[in-house]
Each structure stands twice: as C-alpha cells, then as structure tokens.
C-alpha cells in the first residue's frame, strides 16, 4: 500500500524548503522513518559555539554543531503523533538518557493539525526553554532548579562534546 498523500506532501516540503536550522530526510527503505538534525538555538546552552567558530560561513555550520534525532510516523499518523528521539546525547531536563523527549504535543496534546515540521520546531524551542517542572530526566531537572547557571554550564559542555557531525 502506498504512503498517504499527507506524508508525501510533508516530506516534499521538508526536503525542498526546510525550516531554518532543521533538516529531515526519510530513509530510502522506510519512508516513514526520518533522519533529523536540529541546530541548537542561538543563545541557548545547546548552541555549539566551537563549531560556529570553526567556519566563518554560517551555512557550513548546518553540518556540524547539530543534534541528531530520529523520527518515525506510525501507521495511525497523523491521528497519532510521530515518535521522535534524540540520538545525540544532551543534558536537558526534558530529555532522558535514551534521548526520549517529554513534550506535551508528542503525547496527550497531540493534534492531527500539527506536522513533522511543527513538531521539530517545537523541539528546537524546547532547547531554548527547558521546563524543569515537568522533567523526564529528574537529576538534570534537579540540577537546573537548584543551580541553573551550573546546569547550563554542563549543558554547554555536553553540547561541545557530543553535538557535532
């Protein structure tokens, strides 16, 4: 059976006209399974400054200084949300050791009017605005609540260490 029209449309737009700082490409052998990269937002502890320093050309930084994710559209999509996970290690109160993400729109607040694009933009926004009150990684959340500056320092360290190509 063929891929639903909606998935084809979304994929075409994702590839042809990607959102700034975000890429998503489907696997050849599974068009519901996407390799995703998200650039850490500027000014957040997830912006990879060292990668930025390496290249004066900003477009070069798309390939390094980014977080890798994987995304899967289950059979029921868009009635059910896509499944998304970080593959790059990240020190963030709403993302656990296995890269699982705590984000309401991926769970009970999902709406079929949302899209892959909006989901990825929301995840990018989550990097700018961690929410330690609704934690998935409790130790990180505790760190963020007790000493935000120090927690951000660790986040930055992890970003420098892991978030590159």
């Amino acid at each position: 059976m063929s891929l639903p029209k909606r998935i084809i449309k979304e994929t075409e737009r994702l590839v042809a006209d990607p959102a700034p700082g975000i890429t998503a490409a489907p696997h050849d052998d599974n068009l519901r399974y996407f390799d995703v990269t998200i650039q850490g937002p500027d000014g957040s502890p997830f912006q990879n400054l060292s990668a930025r320093r390496l290249s004066p050309d900003p477009s070069q930084n798309y390939s390094d200084g980014v977080f890798r994710l994987e995304l899967f559209l289950p059979e029921e999509y868009p009635m059910s949300p896509p499944k998304v996970r970080f593959l790059t290690k990240i020190y963030h109160p709403n993302i656990d050791k296995l890269g699982r993400i705590c984000l309401d729109i991926l769970k009970d607040k999902w709406s079929p009017a949302l899209q892959i694009r909006t989901v990825l933009l929301s995840i990018q926004a989550l990097l700018s605005a961690p929410n330690p009150d609704d934690p998935l990684a409790t130790d990180v959340a505790k760190h963020y609540k007790e000493n935000e500056a120090d927690a951000q320092r660790v986040s930055r360290e992890w970003t420098e260490k892991y978030a590159h190509a």
């Binding site: 059976m1 696997h27 599974n30 519901r32 399974y33 994987e70 899967f72 559209l73 289950p74 059979e75 499944k83 996970r85 593959l87 290690k89 050791k97 296995l98 890269g99 699982r100």
Partner: protein, 154 residues
Amino acid sequence: MPTTLNREATPQTLLLHALLQLSRHLSFASFTTPTMAKIPRNFRLLEELEKGEKGIGDGSCSYGLEDSDDIMMSHWNGTIIGPGHTVHENLQFVSRVNLPFVSQVDGKVDPNKLPVLAHWNRNHSIETVLVEIRREMASFNNRKLPQPPEGSTF
C-alpha cells in the same frame, strides 16, 4: 530493574547476561505491523523497553537495558524465573547453565539451536526470546539435565 534483583533474596532468578546482544542491523533490523508501517528497530526497542520496565506477562520473564546510557540499545539483561518442577527450579544462575543451545565455553546461545532465533520473525520480541528459552528449560528433554553448582559463572 529486573537485572538488579538480589540473587540471595530471589534464589530462583536466572540471569541471562549478554545473551541479548542485539545487532544494529540484522536480527532486529525492522518490524512490520500486520497492516503496513514498518517500525524502525530503535522505536520498536523503545516500545519493548517501556513494556519491560512496566513488567510483563506473569512476571516469569523480565528484561531491561544493561546500561541505561546505551543509546543504541544493544545490550540487554534478561531475567527468567526458572520454571517450577524442573531442575531449573531454584536454580540461580547469572551464568552456568547446561542447555543444548548454550555454549559451555562462554555461555553464548547458539542461534541455530534455539528455534526462536533460528527462525527469526520480525514480530518476535525480546519477551518472545525469554519466554521461549524458559519454555525450552521446561521441555521434557531439558528439564532434568544436570546443572552446574549454584553461583558458578561463565
């Protein structure tokens, strides 16, 4: 996590360590639901992990990641509670077990000798493997096999 169960406290626990080393590409490469969407390995394993963390079936088998940082989810610990009324009952092993499909040198399971692995099907899961091993342990041929002393390891 089942793997952390204290042996002393639950002497009938059988710990199958490193038995579930999952290939990144082969055996768990992908899975198909009866309809169509092909669930990628990682998302399938995440589902299984969640199921395993919650506890499954009658509780005779359980499993989890060996290392909770293992982002590729390659190494799993399975725990099988030995079937009652067999020699495996009360047999506690992290390790040494005498079964036809287990190498007596290093404890590795020979996939060719364990039907569930020999005839791998995408719809099988980690749970299936553990349940099948447990079934093998309880089988007529294996239930009375002589076993190494308690506490020995490979």
